[in-house]
């Protein structure tokens, strides 16, 4: 149970990185990636996964 970032669509704005309540998102080799071990899909934390809610590009933060 985790989200992933569709790299080809990502604008590398970094909004997801600081909205993520689990510190699961980081910049690796100039691309943002989600660490599936840390991602909880925000369950029990927020109504919606924060990365998907803030991402400016549709269908870019999606279930892995």
């Amino acid at each position: 149970m985790a989200y992933k970032i569709v790299t080809s669509q990502c604008t590398i704005c970094g909004a997801c990185e600081f909205e993520c309540p689990n510190g699961a998102i980081s910049l690796k080799n100039d691309l943002y990636v989600i660490n599936p071990k840390k991602c909880t899909e925000c369950e029990g934390q927020f109504d919606v996964p924060q990365c998907a809610a803030v991402c400016p590009v549709p269908k870019t933060c999606i279930p892995a």
Binding site: I12, C13, G14, A15, F18, F46, D47, A53, P56, V57
Partner: protein, 492 residues
């Protein structure tokens, strides 16, 4: 020293004497006439804040340069005129940027520019993204740079949603200019501009999104006003969406203490991939924009000299040297040398007194021409407040209105550059003539016979007779001359 005019290139590699020569070319050559007076209508405290800020003071934009660094790319709202994926070095408009920087990279770049460009007075963080939402990076960048260049003016642009959370820090960090983009005060209008916002850990759409955004914008504006921080309101004019509504926006932001209101035309093109671009929403025409500006004339002071510069712009308004200072061109280790900026500022404070005195003198002499009709005059300038650019090199003209009431800046008009490497091109001259529609005369530093004749055929007087004079002085002299000759003809 004819031709040694004030351009950034000229000054970059020059010493104080060259700077002085460049700034004092033409007009009164004793650089001591008049002090650095403020315009009559402004309090000393406000003048002190804006006098070196090219965006806040029309007068300052002749002398001082700004730079923007793109350190805060994250945003908390979606606007229909913005496509966040867009990136092109050839485009020149807000939100478009080629190089995202970390705060440390930004520090290096700003110092490199400050060492090279003595006109630098303002550092802004203006997208892409939102400076208040991406606050940690904004704060870190400003504090690193303020440590090394304490006199640089800091400013930021925001959509306002996260602004109230940071106003106290903005005040303690001496960020004394904040721009808020406010396109509506009625959530129903906002429906067509903002598809969603991200606030309090969720995405809001529909009227809720615009209502929250509006309330946060008003709260932020009031908080800034209370703390004496100058605010500029940017409004994007979107025909059929908010064009008629902007008069109401103007009234409300003025009431809440906004210092300046800048109406910007929507830039919309399918190639930009924005919602408006793709759905064929057009931007306003020149005439529509000016009609709206004229209507708001007695509202909050309007900014008419905005060039909608790129988010990573470097230089005087209307020019961009950003490509000369990309990260690869900036040394790994830079140390700030304040001397050149200090020399330049000392010179400018002398020059401006002279400029202001010339401006006043012109105003007084024109008053005698009671019955003369109002005219538009275009000027080619490289900065420094003078008529000092070759007609063929001008990428834009500043348009002034002249009447017996005085000389007043109206707008700038962009054109295709007519002359490249000494050869004028007829096709682009047609473009220049079209851009100068409604203008009676063009005053420039130099112009050849061919373009002069073509302009004359189009009913526009073009002359380099007033080369190197202060802009207002040259326009005033020209106006006086034609008004008097017309009068003589009438009475003969």
């Amino acid at each position: 020293m004819g031709g040694q005019l004030i351009g950034l290139q000229t000054l970059a590699a020059s010493g104080t004497e060259t700077m002085r020569a460049a700034l004092s070319a033409g007009g009164c050559s004793s650089s001591q006439c008049g002090s650095s007076d403020k315009p009559d209508s402004m309090s000393a405290e406000i003048w002190e804040k804006i006098k070196d800020h090219p965006c806040y003071s029309e007068e300052a934009h002749h002398y001082f340069a700004r730079m923007h660094v793109a350190v805060a790319p994250a945003c908390n709202i979606q606007c229909n005129y913005c496509n966040r994926k867009y990136d092109c070095a050839n485009e020149s408009r807000p939100g478009v940027v080629s190089e995202k920087l970390t705060p440390e990279q930004a520090r290096r770049k700003v110092i490199a520019v400050a060492n090279e460009v003595p006109q630098l007075s303002v550092l802004g963080i203006a997208g892409p993204g939102d400076a208040c939402y991406d606050w940690k990076k904004t704060r870190e960048t400003f504090s690193r740079i303020a440590d090394e260049i304490p006199d640089i003016k800091l400013c930021l642009s925001t959509n306002g949603l996260a602004l109230p959370d940071h106003v106290d820090e903005i005040a303690t960090m001496n960020i004394d200019h904040v721009t808020i983009t406010i396109n509506m005060i009625d959530p129903q209008v906002g429906l067509e501009i903002y598809p969603w916002i991200f606030y309090k850990n969720r995405r809001w759409t529909g009227p809720d999104a615009s209502k929250i955004l509006h309330e946060r914008q008003m709260l932020g504006l009031e908080m800034l006003t209370t703390r004496g921080i100058l605010t500029k309101i940017n409004s994007v004019m979107i025909p059929g969406v908010n064009d008629t509504h902007l008069a109401e926006v103007n009234r409300v932001v003025k009431e809440k203490g906004a210092f300046l209101h800048n109406i910007m035309p929507l830039i919309s093109d399918p190639a930009h991939g924005t919602h408006y671009g793709l759905t064929g929403q057009r931007g306003p025409t020149h005439a529509e924009l000016q009609a709206l500006q004229a209507k708001l004339e007695d509202g909050t002071k309007l900014m008419r000299h905005c060039r909608q510069c790129r988010a990573d712009a470097v230089g005087l308004l209307g020019e961009d040297r950003g490509q000369e200072f990309t990260l690869t061109q900036v040394p790994e280790v830079v140390s700030y040398d304040p001397s050149r900026r200090a020399d330049y500022r000392a010179l400018v404070s002398e020059m401006r007194g002279e400029h202001e005195a010339a401006r006043r003198a012109v105003g007084e002499t024109l008053a005698d021409l009671e019955t003369a009709p109002t005219c538009l005059v275009a000027v080619a300038t490289k900065g420094g407040g003078r008529i000092n650019q070759h007609f063929g090199h001008a990428k834009e003209f500043l348009v002034y209105e002249v009447s017996p009431h005085g000389v007043r800046f109206l707008s700038h008009r962009k054109t295709e550059q007519y002359c490249e490497g000494g050869w004028g091109d007829d096709a682009s001259l047609d473009g220049v003539i079209a851009a100068l529609n409604g203008v009676s005369a063009v005053l420039c530093g130099k112009i050849g016979d061919c373009p002069k004749e073509s302009l004359a055929a189009a009913g526009i007087v073009a002359t380099d007779e007033y080369a190197l004079e202060w802009i207002e002085e040259g326009i005033g002299c020209w106006y006086k001359q034609i008004s008097q000759s017309q009068q003589t003809r009438r009475s003969a």
